[in-house]
Symmetry: C2
Subunit: 209 residues, 2 copies
């Protein structure tokens, strides 16, 4: 088993009991942990919880079959994957590679700030002055596009092509959605705070002064 991992260029350390492992993880964080259930001193979920308490390191749990409930419990407690014993080193290696690949490509949260506005592009959530905004798909897309170009005038044609993704189309539609967005931002065209009309050119999102 360990030989297979060596072959895959992994340096391997092992610990005989959970407490040794925890100390090791805390002091010299590994890239991943393979947690064999049935340790002498702690039960699996206990050990996992303690690992999660000190580290976000990927954990693969090795378990005996007929343990469905236990597997589910561990996955929900934060395990990254599991293997049913007995398993081959090949198998373990493949799972490790997958887990490490995922760990490396951790999602980068993309946040946009404009004054008191926060737009979380990845979660598709937006907030104003700390309280969440309930936006429809179009409204969110519109706001996100404008927020990404804060302080820059955006034309209706540009919105139509970039947000609506269509070359043809009616500017009126945009006007309506702008109006709806304004309402949710707690403002109106006559007294704008964020969403400013630039007559003859387009609209611009900018922080209130």
């Amino acid at each position: 088993m360990i030989r297979e991992l060596d072959r895959r260029q992994h340096a391997v350390r092992s610990a005989g009991c959970a407490l040794d492992a925890l100390r090791e993880i805390a002091q010299r964080p590994p890239d991943a942990v393979v947690l064999d259930l049935g340790l002498p001193d702690l039960d699996g979920s206990e050990a996992l919880r303690m690992i999660r308490g000190i580290s976000d390191v990927p954990v693969i749990v090795a378990t005996a079959r007929d343990d469905e409930a236990e597997i589910v419990r561990l996955l929900e407690a934060g395990a990254d994957d599991y293997l049913v014993k007995p398993f081959s080193g090949d198998h373990l290696g493949a799972r490790l590679d997958a887990v490490l690949r995922r760990a490396r490509s951790a999602p980068v949260p993309q946040l946009l700030f404009v004054g008191g506005l926060v737009v979380d592009v990845s979660r598709r959530e937006a907030g104003l002055d700390g309280s969440p905004l309930s936006l429809t798909r179009r409204e969110f897309d519109l706001l996100a596009y404008l927020a990404a170009r804060a302080d820059r005038v955006v034309t209706r044609k540009e919105l139509l092509s970039e947000v609506w993704r269509q070359a043809y189309g009616d500017d009126q539609t945009i006007d309506v959605h702008l109006s709806w967005l304004r309402r949710k931002l707690g403002e109106s065209a006559s007294s704008p705070r964020y969403l400013h009309t630039v007559r003859g050119v387009g609209v611009m999102l900018s922080a209130p002064r």
Copy 2:
């Protein structure tokens, strides 16, 4: 004007005509371009089009007032911002800063690949074997979540909390959406290609072999 930019730590180069500028942009790409309309040799949109032909450099257009139509045309031709003459160095500096800030934080397209599946997280578009999939919000979120964890079993509880964002809730709901997703992926539970049921544990998205 140039003094103001110096003060802001910008190195400034200038060119008297469009062709000089183009040569300069091609040979030593600047961080941003300020394009003054009314050049001796080319009209503004012509010059902008040529710049865009060789570079994605941010361009700020300097224009005379009463030029609404021209401004719109230039923005749509790819200008990043505009300034109406006469303008202060302060103004120009602020716009430059904004444009450069945007250029630095260019959106990173986040694509997930699983076999013939492509999930574009930022655009919320997905495709299978080259043709686009028409997914609802939930379906997309579900697929994106699974694709980000390809080859790993995901429990219903995890989906409920991470995709549906609720702690309570009915597993049945997930089953229904999984079924809908399968249909759009052109498969069924009895002959899965991507979306595999792991009885008693959850589901797993993985490339067909």
